[in-house]
Amino acid sequence: MSVIIEIVKLTKRYGKKLAVNDLSLQVETGAIYGFVGPNGAGKTSTMRILCTLMHPTTGTIRVGGYDVLKNPRDVRRLVGYMPDFFGVYDDMTVMEYLDFFAACYDLPAQQRASINTDLLALVDLSHRANDMVDNLSRGMKQRLALARTLAHDPQVLVLDEPASGLDPRARVEIRELLVELARMGKTIFFSTHILADVAEICTHVGILEGGKLVASGNLNEMQRQLMPQRTLSIKLIGSLEQAQAVLGNIPGVLSVIPYEGGTTEPDSVHLRVAFGGTDTDVSDILQALVMAKLRVLHFTEDMRDVESIFLQATQGKVT
């Protein structure tokens, strides 16, 4: 896989405040890279440098081999940027708005007309083409902004919190759009606070905290790295002591914790089992329980969700 975005020892200071601290990371062509981190971690700063809006204090970023400091125009040609705000011209229609930005990328008028129509269809705004931009709902504006970043057919999309402030349906729509764009061959580098989005669509994740990358890579690898143990959630009918005794004898079981609350049946027991082992070991546990004549009602492995990875990786430092 070839690398399309290359952040090299990037540092950004605002006066004394260190926003990005010696950050190095690479994004592969075609990846959907989720850039997550707590507020003030330096995500927006990094993206603004990437989009040639701001100079780094030291270090640099290369996009498609072009340096943001030396060849900013080549970088702009490759990158479509959607900031964490929506810039509106209040006296323009949706179509005019798109056409204006397409013209700013030197596209000739003849081409623009058909591109704009296609883009509006892609973001599902064709029926609002002649409405004033100002009158669109937030979700529509967000989709229009996405269409705007696509006007010059960039290879890389840099999206700063594309799903913030949207209702669940609109969020899902944006998510589907991103997947669709990735399928069209675009590399997507986006920041978000919504970890469900990351889990759903990202091929790669980078967790930033205090301007430093605390974890990065493929989502599955990261799970293994950060959370070697699995958690089993077990419900059964029988005595707690017996269950604990059976489970305690199985190698690899780290702890067995009775789970309070939720249960209404008088005889049932709910347990959480921390465990390090393979899938075969998991099925062995179930077998052991059954052999011990315990009546198993419910046996699942808790999803090792991104939320917990995030909490595990970041220390909650105040920035």
């Binding site: 603004r48 989009c51 040639t52 809006l53 701001m54 100079h55 900013p72 125009r73 702009r76 040609r77 990158v79 940027y81 900031p83 705000f85 929506f86 810039g87 509106v88 011209y89 209040d90 006296d91 323009m92 005019e96 204006f100 930005f101 013209a103 700013c104 990328y105 030197d106 000739p108 008028a109 705007r148 010059h152």
Partner: protein
């Protein structure tokens, strides 16, 4: 009139695109300005003002007048001067406000960063903003031409006077526009940008000449207090200083050039007699004014472009 102007705008857009000098920002500004109803209001108000001023001038003098050529010519000059004065007033009021909001307004709407990530060049941003403002002012000026033509009907006004007035108004518009946009690139808020632009205009057009005048006032007292005839060199230097002073303000430049044209029938040059009987020839203030202020406008536009090009540190 509105549909015609729209056609004109479309025509311009089509051809600038075909010939490869399309400026998206200029097109956008033209379109939004034509779409609003405000400009129709401004235009109507401005034309009504000129009509009323001419009418009152006419009423004030027609009672006493028979139609002697002299008197008619005087009337023609008065109408011409009045219209040019009102045009100048309009230019001064409108132009700085049009451009002072240009960049700060983009910042306030958060569209400036969007523009800066596109391939639009900084000089195109400045050109688009300034030219759309100048085009709008030009439209207002042209709209008042028919009434100005009344002066030619009455007589006493030469075409050269008309062209000089237009040239001076245009250069003044350009200077105002470039001051506005330069200030706009420095300040975050549109309102402060407008106020500071007007302030800077006052400084450039009035405060600087006054400073200069104070300086030459001292030299004239030296010149004329000496009992012996002053040396020709000092005299020439004195007239040169006065000449520069006249060129620093459009009103003084225009009034003196007009005076020179009427009294001496000289358009380009001024001849001044010296005490020793010889004379010195200096350029007429109007074109020196054009020269100085065109250069100044270029300087301001250059600074504005540099500011837009600058990446945040």
């Amino acid at each position: 009139m509105t549909p015609n102007l729209r056609t004109l705008t479309t025509f311009w857009q089509t051809w600038s695109n075909r010939l490869g000098f399309e400026n998206p920002l200029l097109n956008k500004e033209l379109r939004s300005r034509m779409r609003g109803r405000r400009w129709v209001f401004i235009l109507t108000l401005y034309l009504a003002l000129i009509a009323m001023a001419i009418l009152s001038l006419y009423l004030a003098f027609s009672s006493s007048s028979s139609f002697y050529t002299d008197e008619r010519q005087w009337m023609g000059k008065a109408v011409f001067g009045l219209v040019v004065g009102l045009q100048a007033l309009l230019v001064s009021f409108i132009t700085p406000a049009l451009t002072a909001t240009a960049i700060s307004g983009e910042r306030e709407r958060q569209t400036f960063d969007l523009l800066r990530t596109t391939l639009l060049r900084p000089r195109s941003i400045i050109f688009g903003k300034v030219s759309s403002a100048v085009a709008f002012v030009l439209l207002l000026l042209i709209a008042s031409f028919p009434m100005q033509a009344l002066a030619f009907l009455l007589g006493g006004v030469a075409p050269s006077e008309f062209f000089i007035s237009i040239a001076m108004l245009l250069v003044t518009t350009l200077v105002y526009a470039s001051i506005g946009i330069m200030i706009s690139t420095f300040l975050k808020r549109s309102l402060t940008a407008i106020v500071v632009s007007y302030a800077l205009i006052l400084v450039i057009f009035f405060f600087v000449p006054i400073l200069f005048w104070t300086f030459t006032g001292i030299s004239s007292s030296i010149l004329f207090s000496t009992p012996t005839p002053a040396s020709p060199t000092r005299e020439v230097l004195f007239y040169l200083a006065i000449g520069i002073l006249l060129c620093l303000n459009p009103i003084s430049a225009a009034v003196f050039s007009e005076y020179n044209l009427i009294e001496n029938q000289r358009l380009w040059l001024v001849e001044i007699p010296l005490q020793n009987g010889s004379s010195v020839t200096l350029p007429s203030p109007w074109w020196i004014y054009l020269l100085i202020f065109s250069l100044l406008a270029i300087l301001f536009l250059y600074i504005a472009t540099w500011r837009v090009r600058r990446v945040d540190p």
